[in-house]
């Protein structure tokens, strides 16, 4: 069933905005509504074309009016976010994530026209610890519930979404648990982290990182909206990079920090406005996280175009990250040594 009227939350951010743009370009969809608390940046707004921007706070009951008057039949909840806006952003972020979702779901429940709900969640709901299995499938839960931050928000959001699914069994609910996004255009904590010239890591740990190209993320959200594919799906690129390997591929230098000093260093980077890592993301740097995407390929019918490694390389070349050690220098050195050796023979 192709939706007629689609409402997208979080359109002033990368995913929501580009998703609204894709829907606006689809002639089968009659109307596209984009909701956010602040207007999208100008270039994003231009891309969105005929999509209408509604400046509204999803924490406010007003959202219910928007949904019912516009006869919205499909809601794409893409505003749950990990990156707080500004230094005091964390409490606001939590409110937007959790209270916003509650209000939005309440509005959806009220409106009989709503037929489909697509939720952008995160694989952070699985947590990250040494006692976890190497690869998470959709039926697994976290070993210990994250006590704060984005991961906890996501767990709570998913809880409310499940509740909504029980109360409105007629609505197709798709929950997508994304791994970390990467790509030349998207701006996340991780893209800023790898752009640092010297990348701090936790001494003695090497996380397994699974990434998803932002274009694949958009394609998955689009597919979930245009087709009826209810369920919970892990979404991530094929293959795994080790954190140290990713740093080498980006041509950065790795700075191992002892565990005890990690909060201090994290605090420094936060106050310097370089990278804002929350404690649960710090844990991610210790253990990493890999999810199983069999369901995505078989039931959801989508295979990511970029593998983790390709997505990361696309990010590195797209951002124009200059490696500190030029690969050609390394190759020249290798050749030089071999030539010298050949002379000694």
């Amino acid at each position: 069933m192709t939706p007629k009227v689609v409402l997208v939350t979080g359109v002033s951010r990368f995913l929501g905005g580009h998703l609204a743009a894709r829907f606006a370009a689809n002639p089968d969809i009659e109307r596209v509504l984009g909701v956010d608390t602040e207007p999208p940046p100008r270039d994003l707004l231009r891309r969105m074309g005929r999509a209408e921007f509604v400046r509204a706070d999803i924490r406010n009951p007003l959202i219910s009016k928007v949904i019912s008057t516009a006869n919205v039949d499909t809601v794409v909840h893409a505003s749950v976010t990990a990156s707080p806006a500004g230094p005091t952003g964390r409490t606001v972020m939590k409110e937007m994530n959790v209270i916003g979702t509650m209000q939005l779901l309440a509005a959806c429940q009220k409106s009989p026209k709503v037929q489909k709900l697509v939720v952008k969640s995160t694989s952070a709901v699985y947590g990250s610890s040494s006692r976890d299995p190497a690869v998470f499938t959709e039926d697994m839960g976290p070993k210990d519930l994250p006590s704060s931050g984005y991961a906890k928000d996501a767990v709570e959001v998913e809880g409310y979404v499940r509740g909504f699914g029980r109360r409105r069994p007629d609505v197709n609910v798709t929950t997508l648990r994304f791994t970390n996004f990467i790509g030349p255009r998207i701006d996340t904590v991780l893209t800023r982290y790898f752009a640092l010239p010297v990348v701090p890591t936790v001494l003695g740990y090497d996380a397994r990182v699974q990434l998803l190209h932002s274009e694949d993320a958009l394609a998955v959200l689009e597919r979930a909206t245009l087709h009826d594919l209810p369920g919970v799906f892990n979404v991530g690129g094929d293959g795994v990079l080790l954190l140290s390997q990713a740093i080498r591929r980006a041509g950065r230098l790795n700075l191992p920090v002892p565990s005890a000093a990690v909060p201090t260093v994290g605090g420094f980077f936060r106050s310097a406005r370089l990278v804002d890592f929350s404690p649960d993301q710090m844990r991610f740097l210790n253990w990493g996280r890999v999810v199983d995407t069999t369901l995505l390929k078989k039931d959801f019918g989508f295979t990511p175009r970029w593998t983790t490694q390709q997505a990361f390389d696309d990010y590195v070349s797209g951002r124009g990250l200059k490696p500190l050690i030029d690969p050609e220098t390394v190759e020249a050195a290798e050749r030089g040594i071999l030539d010298a050796a050949a002379r000694f023979r």
Binding site: R131, P133, V135, V240, R249, L338, R345
Partner: protein
């Protein structure tokens, strides 16, 4: 790489000069001329390895196994220990299949898990397919900084059923030491007495994936660090499962960490098939218990047989 490099094997000018000086020079066999010396080939390998590492140009599997690093850096140092120090002899290597999933179940001993390292090295070097054994380790290993990362890079993963089943169904050779700390940290007087085999989770994993179980008996590892005492207080302080006292440790300090050069035998037994029990066999606790006992009994009997054949701990 930007293109194949051409390394001149011999300088044509110098060759010509030499030929003009000694006209009657005996031509060297052509094979010897075209062969690059061994050290240079090794240097080439080393440099290309270094370049791959600097560029991050290698593949990791979803468990974090870094084959490039394992084969080139982690495995070679085990060679002298395996060949010269413990003089390991393997028996029944043909029982390990050439391909496909299989579960190796072995007895655990020796205070430090050298038995796991030696078994792993033995299969990687002596098995015709040079397979890498993927071992299931305790939570403590993966919680420890450095060690945990190293264990993942060398192909080990956490001992839990989802990981075991995932490895087995993707056709990997999995190694498990079901006695765990009870086996490796048992006092010297209990040597070669198998401890309880956990809860039989490994049998359930093999049943679920229909992969054969290969019992493996290791003789010699018990004598490398004869544990005559256990300082509970220190163990609790450091968060270790035990704090070993051997005749030389902690008495001689770091010198006490040198393992005694016992002679080792590693025997791989006949594979026990698990695909004959039909579906849902893993949900039958009685079957799981019986199979666990069968595996345990096989290993214990093999240990006794190997011990009666052994005349001397150090000479074999």
């Amino acid at each position: 790489m930007a293109g194949a490099r051409v390394i001149p094997l011999h300088d044509p000018e110098r060759d010509a000069a030499r030929r003009s000086r000694h006209v009657e020079v005996v031509p060297e066999p052509a094979q010897q001329q075209s062969e690059t010396p061994d050290w240079e080939r090794r240097l080439t390998d080393l440099l290309s390895f270094a370049r791959r590492r600097i560029a991050g140009d290698y593949q990791i599997d979803e468990f974090g196994f870094d084959r490039d690093l394992t084969e080139n850096v982690l495995m070679p140092p085990l060679k002298p220990l395996y060949e010269k120090w413990f003089r390991v002899e393997t028996i029944g290597m043909q029982n390990i299949p050439m391909a496909g999933g299989a579960l190796i179940v072995a007895n655990h001993s020796g205070t430090l898990p050298l038995d796991a390292l030696m078994t792993s090295y033995g299969i990687a070097s002596e098995h015709p397919a040079q397979r890498h054994m993927r071992m299931l380790g305790a939570d403590l290993v993966f919680r420890t900084p450095l060690l945990g990362a190293l264990a993942r890079k060398s192909g080990q993963t956490l001992a839990c059923n989802p990981d075991a089943e995932r490895l087995l169904s993707s056709g990997e050779l999995v190694g498990v030491w079901p006695e765990g700390f009870k086996g490796i940290g048992k006092p010297f007087k209990d040597r070669y007495k198998l401890q309880r085999f956990g809860r039989g989770g490994f049998v359930a994993a093999a049943l679920k994936t229909g992969t054969p179980i290969i019992p493996c008996s290791i003789v010699g590892a018990e004598e490398i660090y004869p544990m005559i005492g256990d300082i509970k207080a220190l163990a609790r302080l450091f968060g270790f499962p035990y704090f070993p006292v051997t005749p030389f440790f902690p008495l001689l300090g770091p010198l006490g960490a040198i393992p005694l050069p016992s002679k080792w035998y590693i025997e791989f037994g006949e594979p026990i098939r698990t695909d004959v029990f039909g579906e849902n066999a893993a949900d039958d606790p009685m079957l799981v218990f019986n199979l666990t006992d069968q595996v345990r009994e096989t290993i214990q009997q093999t240990l006794y047989r190997l011990l009666t054949q052994r005349r001397n701990v150090f000479l074999g």
